[in-house]
Symmetry: C2
């Protein structure tokens, strides 16, 4: 049988485990041009919270009773396409389940010799590419500039900050625990970092750590942290809007201080993006990321939950910031 996690109810505010259901279904059968994958790891990502709402965004919501959406990496156990053989490792959007069928053209073949296969969901997958294109193409950092990353210990933020270091920037990270601060300034090599949960004032802390102002802000969080950053941007600053996790579980939309005037004064740019904009260039991004990981210039951590039955709890934990680095579920 194929164990799956489906959406049982649309959450109001923070999701609870009761919003999910563990069900069993027959193992699916691949048709021509398809492959059957036995998943090894599921990816848990903040964007999935949006899919639980009944609102059209850049993608359709998950239906009530539908399998939760998401990417996974696994072993091909049956192939009806010449591009894959049994035993190959494949990544694709199977959703939260133990077995999935993928169109071969929409699956990515993963070379298990390059790095652990789990990295295909993290530093060498969508989160790594999101950091790569978001920072380099939207943020366009220049050597010597100050780059601030919110969610700096997360799957995307940790990579964005390290790429900024590679490009010669001063990097300041923001996260929600002292352990994450140590991780950012130690293992990841950020120049400075702070714990927003214990900072008396985001603004004063940022002003202290960014004495020359902020040139690039890579935002995964939004809310009051982002408000403080806008007060410290330099002329011609670039604000990369990658995620807004502080806003995803609010029961009502939040109000905040208006800041458009600041953009005029500083001739600054704020730009949102989705990694899919850059899909023609994924190969280039993966080539650079793979090289940087091999050279030790990009380090990564994974938080791994065991068993598909624990996916909902791990997902909720990730929304609360309990993970460091990429949150995965091991289902092999």
């Amino acid at each position: 049988m194929n164990r799956q996690i489906t959406l049982a109810a649309r959450p109001s505010g923070f999701p609870t485990e009761g919003d999910f259901r563990l069900v069993e279904a027959p193992v699916p059968v691949p048709g021509e041009g398809e492959i059957l994958v036995r998943n090894l790891y599921l990816s848990l990502d903040p964007y999935m919270r949006g899919r639980m709402n009944d609102t059209k965004s850049y993608a359709e919501p998950v239906a009530i009773g539908g399998v939760m959406t998401g990417e996974a990496v696994g072993r091909v156990i049956e192939s009806k396409d010449a591009r894959f053989r049994e035993g190959d490792i494949a990544a694709g959007m199977t959703g939260w389940q133990e077995y999935g069928v993928l169109a071969a053209g929409e699956a990515r073949k993963v070379d298990a010799g390059v790095a652990p296969v789990s990295t295909a969901l993290g530093v060498l997958g969508m989160p790594g590419l999101t950091a790569y294109f978001g920072l380099l193409e939207i943020g366009r950092p220049k050597a010597g500039e100050t780059v601030v990353v919110s969610g700096g210990a997360g799957a995307v933020g940790a990579v964005a900050g390290q790429i900024a270091k590679i490009k010669g920037c001063r990097v300041v990270g923001i996260a929600g625990s002292d352990a994450k601060v140590d991780y950012m300034t130690g293992e990841l090599g950020f120049d400075a970092a702070f714990n927003y949960k214990t900072a008396a004032s985001y603004y004063h802390k940022l002003a202290e750590l960014c004495p020359g102002g902020i040139d690039v802000y890579f935002d995964n969080v939004g809310g009051a942290i982002t408000d403080a950053v806008f007060r410290l941007i330099n002329d011609r600053a670039r604000v990369v809007i990658c995620g807004q996790i502080s806003q995803y579980n609010l029961k009502r939309p939040e109000m905040g201080p208006r800041f458009l005037w600041t953009l005029i004064v500083h001739q600054a740019r704020v730009e949102g993006f989705l990694v899919f904009q850059f899909k023609e260039r994924y190969e280039e991004g993966l080539r650079d990321l793979t090289r940087w990981v091999r050279e030790g210039k990009i380090r990564y951590r994974e938080s791994v939950a065991e068993g598909i039955e624990n996916a909902p709890r791990a997902f909720i934990g990730m929304l609360r910031g309990e993970n460091t680095g990429k949150q995965l579920v091991k289902v092999g």
Copy 2:
């Protein structure tokens, strides 16, 4: 004697005439490399409201007792520089006074044969260039796209909307009176327009007039009008932040709905600018604007107050939206 308007007090909220003072001073004497100008027209612009506050922005505030800052156009009555002769028409930052001395290198020679000299402060001056570079370089409109302009009957907005028409866009204007709506859809050739003061819902009115969504927004106003626009932006929309006149006279900063998530979903860009960024290209902008005015593709209106003593009242009226097109003060 040289009559001047000085800043008597820093306004709290909306300025009053008591915040200004009419004083007399000796006519200044030009030094080497300078010219003495007898002003014909003073320019009144929303940005001057910011200069009345004691806060550092992209320019220094006007000191209490200092002459109000601003551009003017006038006749050279004494020249100590080979680049100007007596009788030439010159534009420059003399401030609100009848006579001013300018460094010849910072004055612009105006060809009175091309258009009325007052246009050097409007359609063929800073407001026209602001519209030109803001729309074309920041907004980057493509033929067939929908462009919304707030403050669409003002000195900058009217030009921005007409340039968007020249570029083949569908243009929707927003302003604060039915007469301005008629002006935009009649004389200026906008495709649609509405009076925000009588619209029951900015959002529903915009949705009705922009059935295909909004690709470019040229914002002179900010506040609730801009909030409504963000709800209707298309994928890859560009929001040009030129001015935020709805916010300049607030006693306390206003809160508004957060919209950064919308920028992700639509992969949209918001960018503030100052016309000075483009100063190396002013000649190119003026060449195009002059041609379009001559060809009748850009029309303009001026609201002219008579006498420097009426400058404060005209300025306050402009902040209230009483002008159509460029607000000037005739001092000749």
